[in-house]
Symmetry: C2
Subunit: 180 residues, 2 copies
């Protein structure tokens, strides 16, 4: 007989040996065999349970992460739609007034603007720093270049449109003029 | 022997009977017994698996429902903070102007207001109907009463502060004056 044999063959052989030696009726041997199978099945069922538990735990962990991300950026869509409102406010407030009536109106509008800024800030909206800082392609979009030797190369010379981020996520980059 | 005995006792007895009758060696009987136990254990493991699968499915279903609700009302906190901004806009726009400059400014403010209204409407914010409709405690808060015999009893006579809902959820009820 070859020295190399697989486990099943070995088992088969052991079973036959028992049968020959003990001369027990065939049914008992079958029951012993059934026990081996049953034990295998127990192990299989336990393995399935372990795997399913692991899947469940992974799923729960993923759900928690998703939920946290959804929560963090929950206001993103409405804030994105509000950016043009902030732009319009800035434009309206930049108007030069000639009468007291108009000046008082602009003052009122400025208060409304501040209330809105407060509300969106509370939700995590922040204006991106631009003028005077080093150009950063993650936050700034260069739409013009100029050469100003009195300032460092690569610095933002002027902000043409304000950029905004929601927490660590850029909603709209600042449109800027950069020093060559 | 007593007629009342627990299951374990009964089992024990059956095992002993088999041993006596068949006169097999003790080990084999033990193996047969082990098989019964193994089969029980298989059933138990399968039960555990079925229960865990059911738990997993329920969890997934709950997560989906939670996610849908979170998504539906995701803008609630920022919109709630924006309600005073809408109030301030209405107040600013109600001002009577005497000069052309002021009138033109108010026109600009009105445009900013409309942009903001558009943004929050897109997210599901709606003004609650009040004046002229029947008082509904789910949407209206009665802060004043008056008797106007020319109108139906229980009808909203005047809206003192606008109410808003986010989809089917009231963010702030309308403050109203009701007909007695």
């Amino acid at each position: 007989m070859s020295e190399i044999k697989d486990e099943n063959l070995e088992e088969q052989e052991v079973k036959e040996t028992i049968q020959e030696e003990s001369e027990q009726p065939k049914e008992v041997v079958e029951e012993v065999d059934e026990l081996t199978l049953a034990k295998q099945q127990i192990e299989e069922e336990q393995d399935k349970l372990i795997r399913l538990r692991a899947d469940f735990e992974n799923y729960k962990r993923r759900v928690q992460l998703d939920k946290a991300a959804d929560y963090k950026y929950r206001a993103q869509s409405v804030l994105t739609d509000i950016l043009p409102v902030l732009d319009n406010f800035e434009r309206a407030l930049a108007v030069e007034t000639t009468s007291e009536e108009a000046a008082s109106l602009v003052k009122g509008v400025d208060m409304v603007y501040r209330t809105l800024l407060e509300a969106v800030k509370k939700e995590g909206l922040e204006a991106i720093e631009a003028e005077g800082v080093a150009f950063d392609p993650n936050f700034h979009q260069a739409v013009m270049q100029e050469q100003d030797d009195s300032k460092e190369s690569g610095v933002v010379l002027q902000e043409l449109q304000k950029g905004y981020k929601l927490k660590d996520r850029v909603l709209r980059p600042s449109m800027v003029k950069v020093n060559e």
